[in-house]
């Protein structure tokens, strides 16, 4: 007769938990902040802001999945069902237009509209239809990391901006490998966008258009130049055999290995390599992302996290008060130091501790200022996956035909005429 007893116990426990959940309603309103996984920094900020609020609100965090597209899937599904339990969201910038266009984001109040202290790349990524729809929190950008010994051997002056052609030649000459992301994943879109934008082009020329009127700028000289670079790296094996499946971590391991030379990657690699291989750090340098055309400033990749407030939240005003607290420059610089995620606030870079922990902080800030976001369209998922379908594996890219055929494919997908 053990079973029924156990069942009763489980039911009793369920009821008690239910009651506890209900009794939580009294006291200050609880704001739920859906955060992306990090090293605990967002939770710390949530606790600090709860304390600063002095009883006006309480922030509780809830963890989203690890990769950005799964985060979007979870949030979009819940918001489409008008879920009121979401107040604040840590959002990956490329998916912000989709949420904004669907009416999932509560309008940003005037006192948070001031972006004078925010790096340009982060402002652009927080904007949809000429309006700031989210609040920039931390901003990410890719730098060009290099092994000083290899650059020296190849005779490259790294104080000057370098081009893709130069680093490809250098890798070929010194028989070393480039760290670039050739996996069929979001990182491939990041790369394609940076190359096309650096060559003066755009993936989408009218990002605000409805799906069936979107015009793609892939079939252009910029598109062909981007394709040229990617196919050369693939065909000449300049990034090693792991290239077609290499993500950011794989590139970092390659770069830190015996054949490492140059790598484009996010700043997380610096603390990661310092931890795993402290002796190597002396040989590592960094500079702005490589140019496609010599003399034309590179369009650097930007990422990061912006904070959005749900339209369906029961405490929109309080949520924005909390956001204001979260994005304070002090919080951002501390978040950088403890979690390695660079601030979107310009003044946050003046913090002494930041300069000490991250000697490349200034380069990051400069890079963020010349960043170009990925296409700001509500159909970003279609565009990004469409690019990945047609530009992967990079060795199979034909600079003469791939840009045009990928444009055709993505256009058909956006018109609901093709599957992805």
């Amino acid at each position: 007769m053990r079973r029924p007893q156990a069942a009763v116990a489980v039911m009793a426990l369920g009821l008690t938990l239910g009651l506890v959940a209900c009794s939580g309603e009294s006291g200050p309103p609880v704001l739920t902040w859906y955060i992306n996984p990090d090293d605990g920094g967002q939770e710390e900020i949530a606790a600090r802001c709860t304390e600063e609020a002095g009883g006006d609100y309480q922030i509780q965090t809830s963890l989203l999945p690890r990769d950005a597209s799964s985060q979007r899937e979870q949030l979009a599904r819940r918001l489409a069902a008008s879920d009121t339990s979401i107040d604040i969201m840590s959002l990956d910038p490329p998916f912000i237009p989709e949420m904004a266009a669907a009416g999932f984001l509560a309008p940003v109040p005037d006192d948070l509209q001031d972006t004078d202290d925010v790096v340009q790349g982060a402002v652009d990524s927080a904007t949809w239809d000429d309006e700031l729809v989210t609040v920039p929190f931390w901003a990410n950008t890719q730098l060009l990391w290099y092994r000083e010994s290899v650059a020296e051997e190849a005779g490259l002056d790294m104080d000057q901006p370098v081009t893709w052609e130069q680093i490809m030649d250098a890798a070929a000459e010194t028989d070393t490998l480039l760290g670039v992301q050739g996996a069929k994943a979001e990182s491939l879109t990041v790369w394609i966008n940076a190359l096309i934008a650096s060559a003066g082009g755009e993936i989408i020329t009218n990002p605000e258009a409805p799906a069936d009127e979107v015009q793609l700028g892939l079939d252009s000289d910029a598109g062909r130049e981007a394709a040229q670079i990617m196919s050369r790296i693939g065909q000449e094996g300049l990034a090693g055999p792991g290239f077609p499946t290499a993500d950011e971590n794989a590139s970092m391991n390659l770069f830190a290995g015996d054949n490492g030379s140059f790598m484009v990657n996010w700043p997380f690699v610096y603390p990661a390599i310092s931890d795993s291989d402290p002796d190597l750090i002396d040989d590592i340098g960094w500079t702005i992302y490589p140019q496609v055309e010599e003399g034309t400033e590179a369009a650097t990749p930007v990422g990061g996290i912006n904070l959005g407030v749900s339209e369906f939240s029961e405490h929109v005003d309080l949520a924005y008060q909390a956001v204001e607290c979260i994005v304070q420059p002090e919080n951002q610089s501390e978040y950088f130091v403890t979690n390695g995620n660079p601030p979107s606030s310009i003044s946050a870079y003046d913090d002494e501790e930041v300069a000490e922990e991250f000697p490349m902080a200034e380069t990051i800030r400069d890079s963020l200022d010349q960043g170009v976001p990925r296409p700001q369209t509500p159909y970003y998922n279609e565009v990004s996956i469409g690019l990945q379908e047609t530009w992967h594996p990079p060795a199979a890219i034909d600079p003469d035909t791939t840009p045009a055929s990928s444009a055709e494919f993505i256009t058909a997908v956006l018109r609901d005429e093709r599957l992805l």
């Binding site: 597209s69 899937e73 979009a76 599904r77 489409a80 989709e98 949420m99 266009a101 669907a102 999932f104 996996a183 069929k184 994943a185 090693g240 055999p241 792991g242 290239f243 077609p244 499946t245 290499a246 993500d247 971590n249 794989a250 391991n253 390659l254 509500p378 998922n381 279609e382 996956i385 992967h392 594996p393 609901d416 005429e417 093709r418 599957l419 992805l420």
Partner: protein, 320 residues
């Protein structure tokens, strides 16, 4: 299937219209409904409702982020899906995985079942447990384990261990081409689910009467003849049930592909296509159409197996 029990049953005078006439069998049938009825109703609620909902949704242009633009479009989603090479490519990959895995698993599973059936009594427990271990591992976990063993970017050891084989070098990137990716996906699937087939076959083996085998041997039959003429025919029902269950399961393969390649290099399977369309693109209408087609494929497999090969799922009653 003719077992001694069923032969005895057939010999009784109740043969023929026995079920319609007998009170006992009628009350048995009624009891059967009482017992299975609640489960049947719940099954209808949790399976029929979503199936009907998917059928209904598949007739709409329905995007989760633009619900106010929802439009009834009859069968246009099906037209798009069936007219797209991506669908046929996924279907082909899915069929290929199903056919290869089921065929290989059937042979391996049978060998393992024989081992379990015949193993010395002291070892039997250990052998059975060892064989069942892969089946007890969560598919996602086994997919990651196989992925990391083969992935050259995260230090997979397979290239190192097997570099003496022709075609395998230190630089072989298994997940960079269709053939090699499919090999790993299929191999991990076989490793994972062969125990399932071998268990089903083991129960079939146990039903083969020992005296038939003995009689065959006394008549001078070789081992191969005993296998072909006595063992296999007597466990046909068990084999067909194993094939049917595994084929239906293999056709819905998702985890391995999602984790290892996420559909890169033309390794996308139907479930992944449905997932990417419904959950990734949030195109519920188009995704539902793919799901409905996937469901139809599964129905066809079940139909072919049950009608075409006369699989009797209630074979243990012994009245076929």
């Amino acid at each position: 299937m003719t077992t001694p029990a069923s032969a005895a049953e057939k010999a009784t005078p109740t043969n023929g219209k026995r079920r319609r006439g007998s009170d006992r069998s009628r009350s048995e049938a009624r009891l059967g409904w009482y017992l299975a009825g609640p489960a049947f109703v719940i099954m209808l609620l949790v399976t029929l409702y979503p199936i009907l909902q998917a059928l209904w949704d598949s007739l709409f242009s329905l995007r989760l982020t633009a619900l106010d633009e929802t439009e009834f479009i009859w069968f246009r989603n099906y037209q798009v899906v069936l007219g797209d090479p991506a669908f046929w490519q996924s279907l082909w990959v899915t069929v290929l995985i199903t056919v290869i895995t089921v065929a290989v698993e059937l042979v391996l599973g049978f060998i393992l079942a024989m081992v379990m059936h015949r193993a010395a009594t002291q070892l039997r427990g250990i052998v059975r447990t060892a064989i069942l271990v892969p089946y007890g591992i969560v598919t996602v976990v086994s997919a990651f384990a196989w992925f990391y063993a083969f992935d050259i970017n995260s230090g997979g050891y397979i290239n190192n261990w097997f570099s003496w084989l022709p075609g395998i070098t230190e630089d072989l990137n298994w997940f960079a081409a269709q053939g090699t990716s499919m090999f790993v996906i299929i191999a991990s699937e076989i490793w994972k689910t062969t125990p399932f087939i071998s268990l089903l076959l083991l129960s079939g083996l146990a039903q083969v009467p020992g005296e038939l085998e003995e009689a065959a041997r006394v008549d001078g039959a070789t081992g191969a003849q005993v296998l072909r003429r006595v063992i296999l025919p007597n466990m046909k029902a068990a084999i067909m049930v194993a094939v049917l269950f595994r084929a239906l399961e293999a056709f819905r393969i998702f985890d391995n592909v999602y984790i290892m390649t996420n559909g890169a290099n033309n390794t996308e399977v139907l479930s992944l296509l449905a997932y990417n369309t419904s959950i990734g693109r949030l195109e519920i209408g188009l995704g539902s159409a793919i799901s409905v087609l996937l469901f139809l494929c599964v129905l066809i497999i079940a139909f072919i197996a049950i009608k075409g090969f006369k699989v009797d799922l209630a074979g243990t009653r012994g009245d076929t």
